[in-house]
């Protein structure tokens, strides 16, 4: 065997062994258990504090609002789409409250005119439509066409 290979082969063998040893220590525990990811991360994510409570949680106390909502055009919207994450309020209803947005621009997020929006979403020009009033003065956000 040529002397070059007598040196190079062991060198490459050492390199590959070092790589495998490093890999053994660097790959996180549970990696690959259920797929190409660290399986324990699922548990870690489960432990995170929940922010959103969900529509059912809101209905437990606000069944009147839920009923009002279900009969109108916003029936498919989640409460927290407009009122923000509500878990803290759900857990401490006496001391905390959810947000109640009432600015015109907030409604405009969905209802300002945009040619790419579907026709069935009512659209207005915020600069022209009843500019001195807030939207909620005329429209009940839980049932806009009542």
């Amino acid at each position: 065997m040529p002397p070059q290979l007598k040196t190079l082969i062991p060198l490459f063998a050492i390199f590959i062994t070092l790589f495998l040893v490093a890999r053994y220590f660097l790959v996180p525990v549970s990696f690959g258990d259920q797929g190409h990811y660290r399986f324990y991360s699922v548990e870690e994510n489960k432990e995170k504090v929940m922010q959103y409570a969900g529509k059912d949680a809101c209905t437990e106390c606000h069944d009147d609002k839920a009923e009002e909502l279900s009969s109108g055009m916003h029936a498919n919207l989640s409460c927290e789409s407009c009122h923000g994450a509500g878990m803290i309020h759900y857990e401490n209803p006496e001391t905390t409250n959810i947000v109640k947005p009432d600015e015109r621009v907030f409604c405009g997020l969905c209802h300002s005119f945009n040619p790419t929006r579907k026709d069935k979403i009512a659209q207005i020009n915020l600069d022209e439509h009843n500019i001195d009033n807030k939207c909620i003065e005329c429209h009940n956000p839980h049932n806009p066409w009542e």
Partner: protein
């Protein structure tokens, strides 16, 4: 809330027509333009070196080692634009420790490592081993220690062992040519396989990337050979330079033909995406595509190098033409990468609108960072030329 609207307003001011929200900001910027560019320079420089070694083009001898060292200098930097784009250098090793076999991008770590460790470093070592051993005996100080380490303890200079250097180096070059093709064909494959993007998705993409890589690598070695000769105040070997220019011309023709074929095919097919792509190349890419890539980077070098194949003016004039052509080709191939990477993200996949690309000056994705990654290989090359000067090697012939 107000600042969100302000941000949204700023974002929307860079949009024309209809565009999906996730298309407004480009995900891949200048650094991702540099990545295929630098990788291409490596592959091209190596293929030029292999012309001398495997295909026995002896007149290229003066540039053989220079081409190898150039390839190594740029290869050492090739991954760094990706690292600074991704922004988590402390996690970079994970591409090697937890490889995802089903992802072409994730395999790059191994393609790169193979090319660096098995091809380039070994080939340079076999080529230089005898000289390194000799230099280690005569050089003192830090440089002497470096040479001693680089011998790896193989100090045998018997004719039989030296013959083995040559044989093993030859085998490595043979392995190296398909490896160079894989290295750069792979980069083209990444873009060509994005089926949702009509500007990228073509099976010709790996081949086009490969040929443009060869063109840019050869142009780079041509430029560096002239620059190094000028700095060392040495006479340029015009026969070698004429031959490099000849190969540059031939491969430029192939590259031009392939890219032309791709565009003609696109125009003739005129799929549903054609209108937006036509607006793209005539609008936002007009300067970088027609003027930079096609006219300055391809047609002018083709005409000037082609003319020199039939009419040979004085050496000085030829040198000037070669210098200008190599720089123009490097410029043109850079904008070819630009047009692919940036161009492919400027139009909406709805085919109804465009966005803009704003290049920042500073920051991890900015212009200064990109310039840094282009300049560093030249410093590495200067170091390698100081350590392993091809002109001090012992030549057998």
């Amino acid at each position: 809330m107000e600042q969100h609207y302000q941000h949204l307003y700023e974002m929307l001011s860079q949009v024309h027509g209809y565009i999906y929200p996730n298309e407004i900001d480009l995900q891949w910027g200048l650094l991702i333009v540099l990545y295929p560019y630098i990788t291409g320079l490596v592959a091209g420089a190596f293929i030029l070196a292999s012309l001398e070694r495997v295909f026995n083009v002896k007149v290229l001898k003066p540039t053989y080692h220079l081409a190898l060292l150039t390839a190594l200098s740029f290869l050492l930097v090739a991954t760094l634009p990706l690292v600074s784009h991704l922004g988590h250098p402390e996690r970079a090793y994970e591409i090697m420790t937890t490889p995802q076999g089903g992802s072409a991008m994730a395999i790059f770590g191994f393609v790169y490592l193979w090319y660096l460790m098995v091809v380039l470093l070994l080939e340079i070592w076999f080529d230089y081993r005898r000289d390194i051993v000799l230099w280690s005996r005569t050089t003192k100080g830090f440089k002497g220690i470096l040479y001693k380490i680089l011998t790896l303890g193989v100090t045998d200079l018997s004719p039989k062992t030296i013959k083995w250097d040559d044989k093993l180096g030859y085998i490595i070059t043979l392995v190296g040519i398909p490896s160079a093709f894989i290295l750069h064909g792979y980069v083209g494959f990444i873009f060509g396989s994005v089926k949702a993007n009509p500007w990228w998705s073509t099976v010709l993409m790996p081949v086009i990337f490969l040929f443009s890589a060869m063109v840019s690598g050869i142009a780079l070695v041509m430029f560096i050979y002239m620059a190094v000769s000028f700095l060392r105040k040495q006479k340029i070997d015009m026969l070698a330079l004429d031959t490099i220019a000849k190969y540059l011309f031939y491969i430029l023709i192939l590259d031009f033909t392939l890219e032309g074929l791709d565009q003609i095919h696109r125009i003739y097919e005129a799929e549903e995406s054609f209108e937006i792509l036509e607006l793209l190349v005539h609008g936002k890419l007009f300067i970088t595509f027609f003027i930079f890539q096609l006219f300055l980077g391809t047609i002018i070098p083709l005409v000037s190098l082609g003319t020199l194949q039939v009419y040979k003016p004085k050496e000085k004039t030829r040198r000037l033409i070669y210098l200008a052509s190599s720089l123009l080709v490097l410029f043109g191939v850079f904008f070819m990468r630009w047009n692919v990477v940036i161009g492919g993200q400027l139009f909406s996949k709805s085919f109804y609108g465009f966005t803009d690309y704003k290049l920042n000056l500073i920051g991890s994705e900015g212009l200064l960072m990109s310039i840094t990654w282009v300049i560093i290989p030249f410093f590495i090359l200067a170091f390698l030329l100081w350590l392993l000067p091809p002109w001090k090697k012992i030549h057998d012939e």
